[in-house]
């Protein structure tokens, strides 16, 4: 249970996802499961796709028709709780927030982990956005095999002991 171990269940995760059809284009998936006083996702979205509303404690609601999957909310979310997903044939393209050094580089193979931190597959880094705008929360673009759509969440940090 997420309240005990911090791991969202499969049902919880799937409930936040758009349909497979909608995922032909990139869409942000917001995993903000508990009410907390926070709304930068709403105020940072250039397309008004995310609504928290008057009470900043309410959970964000996303309109997938408006979401372009740009990823701006991903690096503005203080909880690092937003990921962009897109299905591209047999691959899932992801944009994840990443706050570790060294940053991966374009073309790197990386270990992809699930929400419990277990290695599930290998992924490839396609792009790293880490400019002024990202303000120290890099946006990593990567691809993973399509089977891992609902499991893949981030990448393993470069090993502690080098």
């Amino acid at each position: 249970m997420i309240e005990q171990d911090g791991i969202a269940s499969e049902n919880m995760v799937k409930a936040e996802f758009p349909t497979q059809e909608e995922l032909e284009r990139p869409k942000a998936v917001i995993e903000c499961y508990k009410r907390i006083p926070c709304n930068p996702c709403e105020t940072s979205c250039p397309f008004d796709a995310i609504t928290v509303g008057e009470d900043i404690n309410d959970r964000p609601v996303i309109d997938f028709d408006k979401c372009t999957g740009c990823g701006i909310c991903v690096f503005n979310c203080p909880g690092l709780a937003i990921t962009v997903f897109q299905i591209n044939d047999d691959e899932v393209l992801m944009k994840i927030p990443y706050e570790f050094h060294p940053l991966p580089e374009e073309g790197d193979d990386v270990h992809v982990v699930n929400r419990a931190g277990e290695r599930i597959t290998k992924g490839r880094v396609h792009k790293v956005q880490a400019g002024r705008r990202q303000n120290k929360t890099a946006l990593i673009h990567l691809s993973v095999p399509a089977d891992y759509l609902y499991d893949a969440i981030t990448i393993e940090v470069i090993p502690f002991e080098e």
């Binding site: 997420i2 309240e3 005990q4 171990d5 911090g6 791991i7 969202a8 995993e31 903000c32 499961y33 508990k34 009410r35 907390i36 006083p37 926070c38 709304n39 930068p40 105020t43 940072s44 009470d55 900043i56 404690n57 503005n76 979310c77 203080p78 909880g79 690092l80 709780a81 706050e99 570790f100 050094h101 982990v113 699930n114 929400r115 419990a116 931190g117 277990e118 303000n135 120290k136 929360t137 969440i153 981030t154 393993e156 940090v157 502690f160």
Partner: protein, 361 residues
């Protein structure tokens, strides 16, 4: 004797925010902080803040510190900043006895704002005095302020936001976090913070606590065990963790010692973190022209401390006879910000505590 219209003790988020309002209203302000740099805990807060744009949400604490200090720059001629200075005593005529570089001097203030923040709670367990047992704030200071790793393998005790955030920052520093234990049956802080460390492989263990630290001259291992319904350790459930550092994040206590020297009424309100001053809606204590805001008044996030500081500053300025433009409207807007920040489940405890305090006052 040096004099000041308003002395603010503590240059953290609450104190700096109060200073800005007072300066804007035309007051002469002295900020005293025992650290060499202003900012209080913001100095080491490398994570993005929650809240809304009004409290700089999604900006990092270290950047917010700069905004707050820059806000004071235009008023340099009326502002005196005394860092590296400890207020050792406050007398009832608002004379503050201060220590700087082993030298003692006095400041006479017309009004005093106490924004001293909080200290970390300790946890009793066997060998908790071994080197390698740290409070979470100390670990944060070592890593984020001085760039020093406290150790290589850490056990984090406590799943409030501090434990979760410092756990993540340990990972960012390249330190292994073997586990995060929580005595209660659920995570205390924001779930998004917990998920952040869980997906990086840190086990988050509820109903679990530290039994003892193991080691001769320093921590060589930690023993954790499961707790029963009555928060008692269950014999036979002990597990030994290979760690060299134990990080304690089990809550904060308001630092009210100075405040109490002024003779203000203080009451124990568990939901606010312990002994806290009785306050009116303007953050006035029971002693004329002595105010308290931020963590010293109630343990909360820095976002709320900033808003409280601003409300306090406006009231303190008016009480000194300065005119504050649109004061009524602005206070209402700031109170609304607090209402928003405290409106959800994480704010429930503080809401209850403030109600209790109102009844006591």
């Amino acid at each position: 004797m040096v004099t000041s219209e308003c002395v603010i003790v503590g240059g953290g988020p609450a104190g700096l925010s109060a200073a800005k309002e007072l300066l804007e209203a035309g007051a002469r302000v002295t900020i005293i902080d025992r650290n060499e740099r202003l900012g209080g805990q913001l100095i080491k807060q490398t994570h993005m803040f929650f809240g809304s744009e009004k409290q700089y949400a999604s900006h990092r604490g270290i950047d917010i510190l700069e905004y707050l200090v820059n806000d004071l720059a235009p008023y340099g001629d009326r502002l005196e900043i005394r860092t590296g200075t400890t207020v050792a005593a406050i007398y009832q005529d608002k004379v503050l006895g201060c220590l700087k570089d082993e030298k003692y001097f006095k400041i006479k203030a017309e009004s005093v704002i106490i924004a001293t923040g909080a200290s970390e709670k300790a946890l009793p367990f066997e060998n908790n005095d071994l080197p390698g047992v740290y409070a979470a704030g100390a670990v944060q200071t070592l890593m984020n302020e001085y760039g020093i790793k406290p150790g290589q393998k850490v056990l984090m005790v406590g799943s409030g936001n501090i434990g979760l955030i410092v756990g993540y920052q340990l990972l960012q520093a390249g330190i292994e976090v073997k586990a995060l234990v929580e005595a209660a049956d659920r995570i205390g802080g924001y779930l998004v913070h917990a998920s952040k460390i869980r997906r990086l492989g840190v086990p988050v263990l509820p109903k679990t606590s530290i039994k003892r630290a193991i080691g001769e001259d320093a921590v060589e291992a930690a023993e954790i065990w499961s707790l029963d319904e009555n928060w008692q350790g269950i014999p036979g459930t002990e597990k030994k963790l290979d760690v060299d550092t134990i990080c304690i994040a089990v809550g904060l206590s308001p630092l009210t010692e100075l405040l109490q020297q002024t003779g203000v009424r203080v009451e124990y309100v568990r939901e606010l973190g312990g002994n806290v001053p009785l306050l009116d809606e303007g953050y006035r204590t029971t002693v004329d022209k002595v105010y308290a805001c931020g963590d010293v008044a109630n343990i909360e996030e820095a976002s709320s401390a900033m808003v409280e500081g601003r409300i306090t500053g406006i009231h303190a300025a008016r009480d000194l006879g300065h005119e504050v433009e649109n004061a009524g409207f602005r206070i209402k807007a700031l109170q609304h910000e607090l209402y928003d920040l405290r409106g959800g489940p994480p704010g429930e405890k503080v809401r209850q505590g403030i109600k209790k305090r109102e009844v006591l006052a």
